[in-house]
């Protein structure tokens, strides 16, 4: 067998071009295609888990690019029963300690002189007393009082993700801010960066959302529920429809309509965080 210099160089060049071309093609593939393979793996793992679980544990058909989640809190309806706080803890394995909450309810009392008293006994999980003891102690009278349910704002411009040194907290294509608790190093920068106090560091012992202590946890809009077509647990149990979840990609969704037509407000709009949690009936001092 004889190989000419021309043939050697030609064949070698073609082989190199082929390899380079193949690599270029893999680079051009959208990351979704790589993720789709991973999704297949996850779905297979989910099916294995589903065999021993009464409920489906994976949503293989869910497309995060086809949804845009938003939340509407109607403070004119909230009765401060605290069922949402209780349901959130049960659903997400949030620590029992009242200092750790993914959602909580505050009572805002505007006193006659304009000062605002904010109380949230145990995060509101057991409801509220007929009148906050602080109000009786100060001798002031209330000119206005209402309950304000709180949760992560799922900001479109989130300060928390910017400060994370290991990119453990991030934004999903459907608008939810999540924390990778296996990657989180528990430095707490995001806890400080959040202007809404929505984050906490999971204490060891007791209930832990992913069984991992020392990492940051926060509201996920019940990501495991909304990706299965279910409402978040707090929305499911709210007896007065003060909490609603909606999809901004669905033009007929009542929450989307309410937000689009500007009948809602957000907390601390001056910070430019662009919250996805909108409120009805909050005053300027709420935040």
């Amino acid at each position: 067998m004889s190989v000419s210099r021309r043939r050697f160089l030609g064949t070698g060049l073609a082989a190199c071009a082929g390899v380079a071309g193949a690599y270029a093609l893999t680079s051009l593939l959208p990351t979704g295609a790589v993720g789709a393979a991973a999704a297949g793996d996850a779905a297979a793992a989910g099916d294995a888990a589903a065999a021993t679980s009464p409920t489906p544990s994976a949503a293989p058909t869910y497309d995060p690019h086809a949804h845009s989640w938003a939340f509407l809190v109607n403070t004119t309806r909230c009765i401060g029963c605290g069922r949402c706080v209780d349901a959130c803890k049960n659903e997400n394995n949030v620590p029992d300690d009242p200092e750790y909450n993914r959602t909580w309810v505050e009572l805002h009392v505007v006193e006659n002189d304009g000062t605002v008293l904010v109380t949230s006994p145990d995060g509101g999980i057991h409801g509220f007393p007929p009148e906050p003891p602080e109000l009786a102690a100060s001798g002031a009278t209330a000119s206005q009082a209402y309950f304000v349910p709180r949760l992560c704002m799922q900001c479109d411009n989130p300060p928390c993700t910017s400060v994370c040194p290991v990119s453990a907290t991030y934004k999903t294509p459907d608008g939810v801010v999540l924390v990778d608790q296996e990657r989180c190093i528990g430095c707490g920068y995001c806890v400080l960066a959040c202007p809404y106090g929505a984050r906490y560091i999971v204490p060891s012992g007791g209930r832990m959302p992913t069984g991992q202590p020392g990492v940051v946890d926060k509201c996920t809009f019940c990501y495991h529920r909304i990706t299965k077509g279910m409402r978040p647990a707090c929305v499911e149990v709210c007896p007065v429809e003060a909490r609603l979840i909606g999809d901004l990609d669905d033009p007929t969704d009542p929450v989307a309509v309410a937000i689009r037509t500007g009948r809602t407000s957000v907390m601390k709009p001056e910070l430019g965080t662009k919250p996805r949690v909108h409120y009805v009936g909050i005053e300027g001092e709420v935040g």
Partner: protein, 255 residues
């Protein structure tokens, strides 16, 4: 290393004599070997590059899928409860409490389903719920919150901050010491007070605070011929059945 050098040396030595059949074979072997090495290096590099540069996006996508794969505890809708509890569900479905999910009061369904014994029949469930038969499910430790007054008052106690149009009562003067369930059916949300409501006579306000000259909050007014008076006068005729200081409900009666 010396082997490679010798191979290269021999290959270089053959370049000047391409017509030699033996030299061509060796030359081709070296070329193919180098090409395979190049392809392998590129392939390894491509795989490494794909996982390294995509890492920040890929780990987040995997993590989002891990969150999505968690198992819900609360059922998607109250209709799931109707599979076993059709009678109570039917009452609730047509009531003012329709906006209140079963799980708002009774807690998450998943644990209940996991621990509840398989019911014998719908009739057995109805009987147990009506109190006519012992509930086997409760004996088995099923995680369902039984109805208590605290569950009523967590929403319906009159407190500061509650919207004015929401139905609420002050339990201190609304049949204090009496169970809500004595008058109210929680599933229909209809109050059907019995002719005589038993209530404690301790830790309650003056009789006339509730039993005034007009009926308020559904509390029976004093008869037309009565004059508002102090408790001692009322109790001289409306004798308590039993010890007035006992915390339990005491029925009053006219001798």
């Amino acid at each position: 290393m010396s082997r490679i050098r010798s191979i290269l040396h021999r290959a270089g030595a053959r370049i000047g004599r391409p017509s030699s059949p033996l030299g061509s074979v060796k030359y081709a072997g070296v070329a193919i070997g180098l090409a395979i090495l190049l392809v392998a290096a590129l392939a390894v590099g491509a795989v490494a590059a794909a996982t390294f540069y995509d890492q920040y996006g890929a780990h987040q996508e995997r993590n989002a899928q891990a969150w999505a794969a968690l198992t819900p505890q609360y059922a998607a809708a109250s209709s799931e409860c109707a599979q076993c509890h059709a009678t109570e569900y039917g009452k609730w479905a047509g009531s003012r409490h329709i906006a209140v999910s079963c799980q708002t009061c009774h807690g998450p369904l998943a644990e209940h389903v996991a621990t509840a014994p398989v019911p014998e029949s719908a009739a057995a469930i109805d009987a147990a719920e009506a109190g006519a038969a012992p509930a086997p499910s409760l004996a088995a430790g099923v995680a369902v919150v039984p109805p208590t007054d605290a569950l009523c008052t967590v929403c319906h106690q009159k407190i500061l901050g509650r919207p004015a149009d929401f139905p609420q009562v002050d339990r201190a003067i609304h049949y204090a010491g009496t169970s809500c369930l004595q008058c109210h059916d929680v599933h229909t949300a209809i109050a059907v007070p019995p002719p005589i409501i038993t209530h404690s006579l301790v830790n309650v306000p003056e009789c006339t605070a509730c039993h005034g000259t007009t009926a308020t909050n559904g509390v029976k007014a004093m008869p037309a011929g009565h004059q508002p008076s102090v408790d001692a006068i009322c109790l001289s005729c409306h004798k308590p059945k039993g010890d007035v200081s006992s915390p339990g409900p005491i029925q009053t009666q006219v001798p």
